[in-house]
Point group: C2
Chain length 333, copies 2
Amino acid sequence: MMTIKDVAEKAKVSTATVSRVINNKTEGITEEMRRHVQKVIDEMGYTPSGLARGMVTKKTYTIGLVIQNICNPFFPKMVSGVESIAYKNGYMVLLCNTDENIEREKNYVSILREKRVDGIIITVSNGKDKEYISNLTAGNIPFVFLDEIAEDVNCVCVDNESGAYKATTHLIELGHKNIACLSGPDTSITNLQRVKGYRKALEEANLPIREELILKGTYKADSGFKNTENILNRYNDVTAIFCANDFNALGAYEAAMAHGKKVPEDISIVGFDDILDIPANNFAFTSVSQPTYEMGQEAAKMLIDIIDKKELKDEVVSFQPNLIVRDSTSTPK
Amino acid sequence: MMTIKDVAEKAKVSTATVSRVINNKTEGITEEMRRHVQKVIDEMGYTPSGLARGMVTKKTYTIGLVIQNICNPFFPKMVSGVESIAYKNGYMVLLCNTDENIEREKNYVSILREKRVDGIIITVSNGKDKEYISNLTAGNIPFVFLDEIAEDVNCVCVDNESGAYKATTHLIELGHKNIACLSGPDTSITNLQRVKGYRKALEEANLPIREELILKGTYKADSGFKNTENILNRYNDVTAIFCANDFNALGAYEAAMAHGKKVPEDISIVGFDDILDIPANNFAFTSVSQPTYEMGQEAAKMLIDIIDKKELKDEVVSFQPNLIVRDSTSTPK
DNA sequence: ATGAAAGCGCTAACAT
DNA sequence: ATGTTAGCGCTTTCAT
């Protein structure tokens, strides 16, 4: 591998001069010299070492992006949003898939530290564990939390409560009175906020909150399936289900079908995240949509801002989610 | 930021000893000393610098992954496959989104060189441009081409010809005789192979190849839409369309609808890539599915193999695609 | 078993 | 305007 020294020798100049050229320094170098050195660089096909440069400048122009699972359709746009802003600002992104595994999450963050990334964007799986969060953010690396919220850190998120409120209110306005709620994991603040929004909507509509209709679960389809089966077996007055995310909605849909119930004729289902939005289908879910691309962009902007200004300000940017009404909700029979 | 020197001083040992501990060297160090140093490291919360290490070892344990667009549902699983194998082997992946923009592709590769990645996995947009390819792979960085094929390089791909052959044969077996072919960009070898498979199927079935039914296009939905409109306007004997990818199929579907034709009753459509496979829908496309996760894994394995053995062998690993018959194909009326 | 010191390829401060 | 040189934080010989 060629070095700056090789170039300097070939061009019969000092390494400092070569350095001035590859870094586009304007002062202290004549146009003629610049052209001369550049020519040698091009001829030799020299590429400076980012490692060496990073060592002395203390900057790597690399950020880490820790996400749960790129295969979950919720994330690609977010990743793309991050990448687009990063690229525009000269940064590259190291992709870290955690599979919602806390150990892997920790491990990745530690490797990112070793790699001396300039900052980290992370979608944590457990925003409630304060000790965990503070261990994560220990050290002087800028952090931005994306999607999931945590306290005392910079966050880009969506107003989950408002989203859930909109979804539930939609069901209420359609005429539903007995609405079940399939919640996600209670380690997730996001989920807690969604349940809160569900409750708020019922309260404001003066509908009773039936605790037995609020089921704990996970963000997976099998959880939605099981919980819906339970609901359907026990309470035949339930005509609608608010799901904490679309995988739950998918499970709910399948359980309803298995139960001989039609969606939306017999039972209405609202999801959250809007990841089931492939066009050209006859049937699509009503769901709360998040502007994931913009959220990714915002997170990257915020991170780069912090990196540049080196100030951590514990800011929270909250996006408004959007209820998209489609085919899985209708008035009750 | 702490350095190995700080640790050495605190532990009253040399930096060499600390280095032995952080690298888990077994020889030349007593268990007692290891424990002592490790304790100091833990207390101080020291994280070694990967940059400094990389400079001397000439290894970064980082690979670059250059893909067209993570938002295209075809790619996330591929990325995930790459990431899973990389992680297992101690590598991280730098994600590079190119938007099929050749300039951006080149630029990213050049940045990856600067970062001294150990290798690059790339899904090029133009496998036919030999000069471009050889410029890309110039230098001693190991390359593996994924999805799209190029000559004289290590490749992981799918047998596109066979996939197209299966898809077209499926239509023929259903009884279709006049089958159009919406092809993708002719800069893509992948696309050329798919068209080849289409032709082969017709030939083997002794069906005439009507060149006017083979339309050039891109991999986007609007191309499929326009081409289908043309077909429908001119040739009303066409009862089936083979599409070079699913976006084309989507466009074809919409054009058919706009034309008052029902799918599959009036016209059958086969896609390629199987990216429209969201469950719980009443309608889904018949498509040729690629094992993208496995392909990603294989590419990562191959790359790490090359990195370890430092031998470039111009190997081509070809996966068999699978025709998934769903609701967009049936016998002609 | 442990330590001293050279060197990886750059940048930046200081000389010239 | 250009050059000299001291690090940046590690690993790796080579001594001891």
